[in-house]
Symmetry: C2
């Protein structure tokens, strides 16, 4: 029986899941791969913690470099996270000719171009299915299943923490702050939730997927990123009255010479399947010329769902090693020489529909003033709705627009915000509605 | 630039789609694979029809055997369908050492064990993603992404014709016969719709998936198969009142020493994502020990969606040829020597929830008689509902049961059907409700 030796760097939650799947699922993997996958070394700064996994003596060590430099290790699994030591270890492992598996979206999104180039030049595989969407096979689907398709758009719910919080606010009507605290208590949000709730984790993921889908260099810097902390139960309630749900979406669209790549809370209609993806679930719709739309959904985080994706990658690479091949599938989906720089469109240039909410004094002429400013900026109003109930002396005035350019909307909102009759910063939530393309 | 030569057998709808994708998408495929995929020969009995595709001279020929026996062809794509000539051609192509791609679920479900054995012995790849779920990457997901998982269950909508018809009856309340006729007029149902509406096409697909998921030999014969022609608007309406939708489901569950594999109309609750998969869409939920549930959805039929899956297979195999490897992924997901015969449970042995509708004369004592018979067979009633409106002198009496064994339900229904006060054959529709496990 052939054998592949694996070295695991970092044994936190997901690393422990990987170890557990390899140690407990050995027979299953053998029956599928026709070889054993041996967890030869696990490096973690804490070698004493009880992880509920029984390692053989000498497997668990402190020194990650000893794993990377061990000539007996075939595949290095990087589960440390972050973009400092993890990067150095990965680059060193590549240099040593090891195959790599990682779930490190922050690192790949910010420094992936250099890392993938190093792997490509060395001729080693670098697999990263677990970096986006946990167990949903989104990267394999793009790189392998949709290989004959021109991908036109991807719209996804890619952060379980945000989806949990927004689902809870929708169900319970409680405000963001207390819902976040509850999510933290339940372990669905980190002690420092910024990476998730500010949308940056989602931005990392859509930057990676956009590169894979369109054959472009990874570009995280230009992904517009807006989080969910300003979403109120009131806006969720209004959304529902218009037939919409609010989700933190990653939106990526191929526009020929440019790409839209943006992350922000978005209203989507009830009949969009993504609107029913609740709690910590992730999901993504991919639109492409041959398949039309396909949707994948699954747990985007958690010990075993994420570990499942890592084990899938380990088996993929093991199969390559057993066949004596590497680079069978190009790392970023396209041949290195076909990858271009495609600019990401500034958010000011996008054209979409908008939900706008103003806190306006309940005086004659206010509606006319606000709608006049919108009109003078070329923004056409589809629906206007004024709710009678006063909040701090103001009434909410809600408008849905026809398709408009963001730059025009920003200009109008700045002007409206400076009016005496407007008592708070106007609220803007973008709408993604496939039923409403005008 | 390396080159792979492809021979296509059968140029009907999907075959034409494959030809179109290869001819029009050549640059895209090249940029991903780093090689050209050349459509060297296309065999079809009709070489004169205008398919909207321009073939080079000598590409389109009548004789499929000339393709199979052409030493210059690397991969044979079988798009003829059926289980006579297609089987002979595939076996001959295998014998000639060619790699195979097919979408022929009828053939694989009924004679796949022999065909896969032949391919395995010859050491050629046989890919069949397009045989189940069109462009949804369900086979790749099972064979590659979930490779570290023990798959526990699969529940799918795998036939677009049936899903279209049931969705239409649900929306419009029109009966089966006229809805079928409308589907035929729109091209969503075949002139001879039996294979689809009797559930057999779905049975083919779940027989294939069950083999892949559990490491068992393909067993079509024992898949319980019931179609949708007896589903009435009335039952769909009652289902809605209980919070259910009716879908033709393929249900497959691993039970350790045995497997459930069955196809029948099924009530599922509104909060099951499958209940929102409407029209010609397909979808499947896979439950497994590490990932919990994942869902895939997409077009299960149609020229380009199905062709997309075929092209994905062609690229997979081309990558194997370019790497000088075959059999990289075992054909049926498990190593040949790990595949067992696992019996499929007879439908009489399954335990599930039931919706029962009786046409009962509106007389005192009828409810008590019927519920008495159910009780004496050990079937516990969860809800009983008698609708006032008379139909042909009878009133519909609807009952939902707690979990019961099908054999007991059959026995009770036979007894009830023979009562004088019951005027029509009782209606039985199984319920799959994850919220209701008692």
């Amino acid at each position: 029986m052939k054998n592949i030796n694996i070295g695991l760097l970092g044994c936190g939650t997901v690393g422990t899941g990987v170890a557990r799947m390899l140690l407990n699922g050995g027979d299953l993997i053998k029956s599928r791969v026709g070889a054993t996958l041996t967890l030869k070394r696990v490096a973690d700064i804490d070698t004493t913690k009880d992880r509920g996994v029984r390692f053989d003596p000498d497997v668990l060590i402190e020194d990650a470099w000893a794993v990377v430099n061990d000539p007996g290790i075939d595949i290095v699994v990087e589960m440390i996270g972050g973009d400092t030591i993890a990067k150095a270890l990965i680059l060193s492992a590549i240099e040593n000719g090891k195959q790599i598996v990682t779930a490190n979206k922050a690192l790949l999104a910010s420094q992936g171009n250099a890392i993938f180039r190093a792997a490509g030049e060395k001729g080693v595989d670098l697999a990263f299915e677990a970096s986006v969407g946990g167990c949903m096979p989104i990267i394999k689907t793009i790189r392998e299943s949709l290989v004959g398709n021109r991908i036109q758009a991807m719209i996804g719910i890619l952060n379980g923490t945000c989806n949990y919080i927004l689902s809870k606010i929708t169900d319970d009507g409680s405000p963001f702050a207390s819902t976040l605290a509850e999510a933290q208590a339940k372990g669905y949000a980190e002690a420092n939730p910024a990476l998730d709730v500010e949308g940056r984790d989602t931005a990392h993921k859509i930057a990676i997927l956009s590169a894979l889908a369109y054959g472009m260099e990874i570009n995280l810097t230009d992904v517009y990123t807006e989080g969910i902390s300003h979403i109120t139960p009131m806006d969720i309630e209004f959304a529902g009255q218009f037939g919409y749900r609010i989700k933190l979406l990653a939106i990526s669209k191929f526009k020929g010479q440019t790409v839209e790549a943006r992350v922000h809370p978005t209203m989507i209609p009830f009949d969009n399947m993504l609107s029913n993806v609740n709690g910590t679930l992730n999901a993504i719709t991919i639109s492409a010329d041959a398949v039309e739309d396909i949707l994948l959904s699954g747990r985007g985080a958690g010990m075993l769902p994420t570990a499942s994706a890592v084990v899938g990658d380990l088996v993929d690479i093991s199969r390559n090693l057993l066949s004596g091949t590497a680079g069978r599938v190009p790392l970023l989906s396209f041949q290195m020489d076909a990858i271009r720089k495609i600019p990401v469109m500034p958010i000011s240039e996008i054209v979409t529909h908008y939900y706008l909410r103003f806190s306006a004094l309940d005086r004659p002429g206010v509606l006319s003033t606000i709608s006049g400013i919108l009109g003078s900026c070329g923004i056409s109003i589809k629906t206007a709705y004024q709710k009678g109930r006063k909040i701090n002396g103001s009434v909410p005035l809600v408008m849905l627009t026809h398709a408009a350019k963001e730059a025009a909307v920003t200009k109008a909102l700045n002007e409206i915000a400076s009016l005496d009759v407007v008592s708070a910063k106007p609220v803007l939530i973008r709408i993604e509605d496939q039923n409403n393309e005008d």
